[in-house]
Symmetry: D3
Amino acid sequence: MRKIVTFGEIMMRLQPTGYKRFFQTDIYESCFGGGEANVAVSLAELGCDAVFFTRLPDNALADACIADLKKRNVDTKYILRGGDRLGLYFCEKGASQRPSAIIYDRKGSAINGIDLSEADVDGLFSEAEWFHFSGITAALSEKVLDALRALLKEAKKRKITVSCDLNYRKKLWNLQKAGEVMSELMEYTDVLISNEEECKDVFGMEARDTDVNKGRISAEGYAELAKAVMKRFKNLKVAAFTLRSSISASINIWAGVLATSDGCFCSKEYTINVIDRVGAGDSFTAGLIYGLSKGKSPLYTVEFATAASCLKHTVEGDFNITSLAEVEALMSGSGNGRVQR
Amino acid sequence: MRKIVTFGEIMMRLQPTGYKRFFQTDIYESCFGGGEANVAVSLAELGCDAVFFTRLPDNALADACIADLKKRNVDTKYILRGGDRLGLYFCEKGASQRPSAIIYDRKGSAINGIDLSEADVDGLFSEAEWFHFSGITAALSEKVLDALRALLKEAKKRKITVSCDLNYRKKLWNLQKAGEVMSELMEYTDVLISNEEECKDVFGMEARDTDVNKGRISAEGYAELAKAVMKRFKNLKVAAFTLRSSISASINIWAGVLATSDGCFCSKEYTINVIDRVGAGDSFTAGLIYGLSKGKSPLYTVEFATAASCLKHTVEGDFNITSLAEVEALMSGSGNGRVQR
Amino acid sequence: MRKIVTFGEIMMRLQPTGYKRFFQTDIYESCFGGGEANVAVSLAELGCDAVFFTRLPDNALADACIADLKKRNVDTKYILRGGDRLGLYFCEKGASQRPSAIIYDRKGSAINGIDLSEADVDGLFSEAEWFHFSGITAALSEKVLDALRALLKEAKKRKITVSCDLNYRKKLWNLQKAGEVMSELMEYTDVLISNEEECKDVFGMEARDTDVNKGRISAEGYAELAKAVMKRFKNLKVAAFTLRSSISASINIWAGVLATSDGCFCSKEYTINVIDRVGAGDSFTAGLIYGLSKGKSPLYTVEFATAASCLKHTVEGDFNITSLAEVEALMSGSGNGRVQR
Amino acid sequence: MRKIVTFGEIMMRLQPTGYKRFFQTDIYESCFGGGEANVAVSLAELGCDAVFFTRLPDNALADACIADLKKRNVDTKYILRGGDRLGLYFCEKGASQRPSAIIYDRKGSAINGIDLSEADVDGLFSEAEWFHFSGITAALSEKVLDALRALLKEAKKRKITVSCDLNYRKKLWNLQKAGEVMSELMEYTDVLISNEEECKDVFGMEARDTDVNKGRISAEGYAELAKAVMKRFKNLKVAAFTLRSSISASINIWAGVLATSDGCFCSKEYTINVIDRVGAGDSFTAGLIYGLSKGKSPLYTVEFATAASCLKHTVEGDFNITSLAEVEALMSGSGNGRVQR
Amino acid sequence: MRKIVTFGEIMMRLQPTGYKRFFQTDIYESCFGGGEANVAVSLAELGCDAVFFTRLPDNALADACIADLKKRNVDTKYILRGGDRLGLYFCEKGASQRPSAIIYDRKGSAINGIDLSEADVDGLFSEAEWFHFSGITAALSEKVLDALRALLKEAKKRKITVSCDLNYRKKLWNLQKAGEVMSELMEYTDVLISNEEECKDVFGMEARDTDVNKGRISAEGYAELAKAVMKRFKNLKVAAFTLRSSISASINIWAGVLATSDGCFCSKEYTINVIDRVGAGDSFTAGLIYGLSKGKSPLYTVEFATAASCLKHTVEGDFNITSLAEVEALMSGSGNGRVQR
Amino acid sequence: MRKIVTFGEIMMRLQPTGYKRFFQTDIYESCFGGGEANVAVSLAELGCDAVFFTRLPDNALADACIADLKKRNVDTKYILRGGDRLGLYFCEKGASQRPSAIIYDRKGSAINGIDLSEADVDGLFSEAEWFHFSGITAALSEKVLDALRALLKEAKKRKITVSCDLNYRKKLWNLQKAGEVMSELMEYTDVLISNEEECKDVFGMEARDTDVNKGRISAEGYAELAKAVMKRFKNLKVAAFTLRSSISASINIWAGVLATSDGCFCSKEYTINVIDRVGAGDSFTAGLIYGLSKGKSPLYTVEFATAASCLKHTVEGDFNITSLAEVEALMSGSGNGRVQR
């Protein structure tokens, strides 16, 4: 089994218990999460050899973060230590018409001062078959972007497959900057993942017959969009989209689309009573990497990735604590939620 | 900005955690609430200058109650202290076919012994533009009713707009007494708010084509009812209704109707996954007072009040901890609950 | 009022708080439960004189279990003490497409070593009118099965009505063994209760036009099945089925069917937002025993049992903490979940 | 085994979690308690046949209270139902130099309207050997005092031993009224229990060489005091005192003195790290009743009562959830708290 | 009553529940705190008109922080809004030989970018009689120090009394820098507060016969030290010290010394079972300001300040939620922690 | 760094929150623990390469257990999977005179069916320098004892140092059997650890001048005892004792003694406010193994082991989550518990 490496920031999440607002309680639940870390954990839960690379400060909170990754079977030995602080984010869980609210507090976090010369890049990539990053990592700071570029070059040199989740965060950069940088990084990217909105935001490329705010999403539109994206970025071999129709913060409809040179494949659609949707996109990405790296068919892959990420919506925290058997049971079954005794 | 004054009882609420029944746990969550206090808090959250008037005992629980109102920016300086006890209510949260159950324990609470001669009525009403009360306050005790009448007279003398939420509580008085007293108090009232049932209970006036228990509610019926109410009570300038179709304790459909001399205006309808519906009517009233006191159009006002109270259903506790921006976002948007990052 | 006796195992249930998975938290909520104990508690809540018979170890956990039964008004004085351990089960609450997962840890529990010669069987059955057991009890161990057979013979000798919930648990025995034993025990059984799947599993008898995994359930099919079952097992006077269409772990459709020599009666159908569905079948059984033992009509009985068990889905824990008044309110009302003040 | 009957009020206690003040949290822990109820529970835990008599309202909170007593094996079948409310008290747990603070909210509670003509007094006292009450009960209301007097007369007629815990509460009555009434009730009393302060408060009789606020307590002084009390109230056969030296809210020194016609007996002294001291006096009383009613020696009795109440300080809530074996282990052992495996 | 103004940083504190270490739980309790904010809250609890000045970001967490200050009656209307983040600190509660551990995460917090030109300094100081700051504020950033110097000059111009808590934090600056800056700021300072170590750290001035790590503290030594400090810094009128002998994280001995031109006054000494000692020094400072600003005698003042801060050790969180009556009760009483009913 | 291997059972611990008794709450806190697992975790926390060997069932609870060990950096790859159940123990935390109570529920747990032929013994011991076991492991079952004997033989063959914690559990076997087996196993043991009682229980060898129940412990007596033990069991090179004087469940005095051929060394003595003392002996053992395996002096080793285990008493759960730096700080410092900022 060869390694899958992901690179990005992991943060501590603090969330008032239940559906309480920030003003309403003094009890917070904490977990750790961040796009690429979530992907690594999902992959490890699925039985893959996942490695997470980042930079974390040298304090007890970061120790606890690393311990949590170890608990999830993620290889943490290449993580750099240094810098001032662990990034944080505060999350208030929404319900029905009240959306979840996130306050990021990641400025000045350790990863922003990363210097790749301190890292064991050779060790990191030895025996690796896959490298994953997201648009968030690209947006964090110039130093992080430099490190990312260097890692991408090294990955391509080693013929490692590269995947990118577009993941646009408007508080980190603007549309123009995002468009320029992400277009550049597409040169290194084999597999692109996006949600129903970001391709328009970042690349100005839009699915027809789709109005997310009105809950109208056309799978065909996304199939065409995938083709167009692959045409524009020549190195892309796979483009995939998660399609979320958000009925409310409590009820979402969820599906996936995957396009390769063989054609475009749509998953079944799930209507979900949401427990925690943060990290759903990352769990889709992990499912996709799982399927592609194991040589599964595109249809299996998109069904697998969508089922895995459907289950993520029912799991608290950023991480998709879900086993291979559970994902396959949902893929093949009816998702009727009968008690497993 | 001129003051909005509300008068009524505020109680401590004690509720078993989660969906536990009274028999099932020894952990209770507590908050404070009561019709007019809820209105004051909602208005303060919307940025208004809200003043809450009541009588509370001189003990540490009542201190905590006042502190909580201060936390919410409500002016508490006219509150009288004295009497034996803080009113309480115990609430068991319902789900699906099991309704929420409320046990009131407000007998002998401090407000029942109120004596207006101890109050600074002049200070209370100076710079005030609005006075709000509900049928609950009128029902509490003779002393409270005397104080209420005196305040209403003073308010009218000062040309302060008066609103009344009909709010019938069968455990406090009977239909006949309620009908007599509330009819009398309509003489002082400019704006009447009722829910889908109370107008029939208290005034014997009913919307046609409506059967609440069957979940059938006709907005047109309520438009006619509003007209009829305003015809009967000549001083009324506005009549408004909240329309709840309770599918179950977990799922409600919610809308509002507002009638003025300009006609009758219906809000859009929201299907809500209920987190906590106690205080929803009060948050509608607050939205209404907000709109009318700011000179907004009737349509804006009813949409605003309905959106505000839709959001209340997603907030734990009696108080609608929701900002102006959040209400306007729901009014203008789709309420699809996408994460706000 | 004559006694209703139930016999089986009661276990301690341990469940991560909220929707947390076993991996995710160190806080567990505990309650007690087990098929026949759940029936006894439900009956006691409905005002019946319920007696629970089992064997429990002589330690503080079993003391707490007995205390909990006493709290619920169940007569515990015939319970034997001895053996090594209290049975346990761990439960992870599912949501949406993620099913609840149960890990039983009942091996070697006290009941498995039961020896009826230590019990006061005469006291247990004196003044009793009903004896209830389930397929789980029959499957536990040879000693338990021996005790069960002896109790059944004694019950028949005393002309006590016997009910049996088929309750097949694949981790306790296999289909063949279950079929043989349960067929034998039908000789003693007057009233059989089964869910939508077990009759097929245990007796190889299936309702037509029904595919549980596809959510297709035909009440007519179950009526025919009931007739066939009663034809095969001549002593049966009543056969009843709970019909669950599991849309997801969060949403279930629930109904009941009851067949007697007078014909077949279907309850209304409830769409339920599930809080906790463990023990729902037991609460149906209790409702059935309540109706039949009180001489209610078959239609009342099946509506009562279905309404009672609908409410169970909204109550945390194994026990259906629901009063007679609450069940009757749901039967006669609309189940719209309006607040009871 | 003959019954021990206690009569008084039971309340719901609400306490902020941990050492939080009323202002600091919205989470409350609840239990039930009240002087004579605590005595009944302690006795039941020790294996006695304890009956608690009171009046409680007919609502779900009082149902939960009765269920809790049943859980503790107390006979609740003579409890009257009616009246408006369950008494409450709010407790803030002190630590070190900060004392615990209690806010009573018992005014207008159900017991205050008690009418003995509704009670089954004959059933209550049949097979009873002991009747216990406290000064709190005497102070509640005229109706309660009337009922108490009637019960005392009936008890004396039946030759039932009567014990009284002096328990002076300054918020319920004043020193003069307390002195008059309690002196009168001493006519019916065989066994008097008091703490280190109350005898002075109520009867104006003081132990020499004792200054509670300075932590100076003389066991000899209390022996003399006991003699003097028994001289003054001729019917008294036993007088007992609990002696608390409160170093701080966290650390107390605790001992007991028991005087009979045979002389005066002092227990060993315990230095206690306090977990919850509410109800300690009641657990001493229960220990005393246990010893005297079982015919134990005075020395055994005072050691037993003191050990039982020492353990109460380590148990959360009003009730002394402690077994006979645990009390005897402390009496005979060293109280060194080694783990029991 | 004239205003007391304090200036500094307020942070959100996050602490694992109970005595759990950072690695051990995902549940955190949160409160707000910071040296000068703690002083303001203590003063408000004592009935003073306290104003807290700082800069906070414009997000919901800072809103919650301000709401918490309002709840405590602190005037927050001069607080500036802007900047990136709210300062945080993580605290792990120690016990016995394991010390509490604090991880500060205050870098880049809003106050560090403060610009006094945006503030209403005139409003802030109008009707003020006292201004308080600490060495932490001086250490935060050059901008904060600039603002502090400007406020101090303005305060002196207005003849406002200035107090300074030396409060050395080695993670914010080094000894040399601290010595230089704090010496300079002594020019503006009337009242200096220090603990048993800081005077040595910052000014190189040490009490004789004192070895903190050995738990040896000499009140006389501190009296001499106070004199020496006042001699060196000519503008000082009062110097006060808190003297902590830390037996362990669970048990501390606590006393205060106050020196004026009239002589040196020592408080009584308290042995404390510690609940939460963070903020104890601030509560001493608040007690000192209370006494001095009310014109109390030096002895009363030091006893008051020490009693107030003794009680702080028993209160969870940074804020000393303790009333005037409670402090005076401890001063005059025995601190024996008897229940207050 | 060479591996330290430990072999034994790890169980899930379930404990009512706070100081609640089993009867009092439905909330349990869970952790994992067991003698040799605790040693492995402590060693890993100190930076050693610790390997834990056991057999666990193939279910999600055991998965969670393994994940927890990974979180603590323990190598779990040699753990066998199979068998029916995870061992459990229930713990009720004592306070003051009330001892902690433990109910073991380990019968039939997976380790009891261990078959070493399924294990990779060669891998387990490769690069190992130390093997540790305890008397509990020897007592579990014949299969476990067989496996233990085989491992001990293999360890000796490989010249691996062997340590044994005597750890007598009376519920697992009797004194005679324990004495025989443990005497036999001393043939393989280089380092023996015992507490103040077990040497007498198992080997009938007692320290003079010591009465544990009276809190009288003589370090000299243990020095002599150590010599005598080493004389009797010729292969022993080191004998160590933990000496606990249990003042109460809340306060313990703790020290250690270590004897080698160089003499006998006593640690300083700690008076501890106990948070959780379960696992204290194991943390002493881990400290001892740390010191001896790193070639530290006997005095350093016993001081280190005692300081480490002193800190364990302040940490919740079985595991001693304490770093090398923290232990050394306590050894060299005063243990005064000052806040670490």
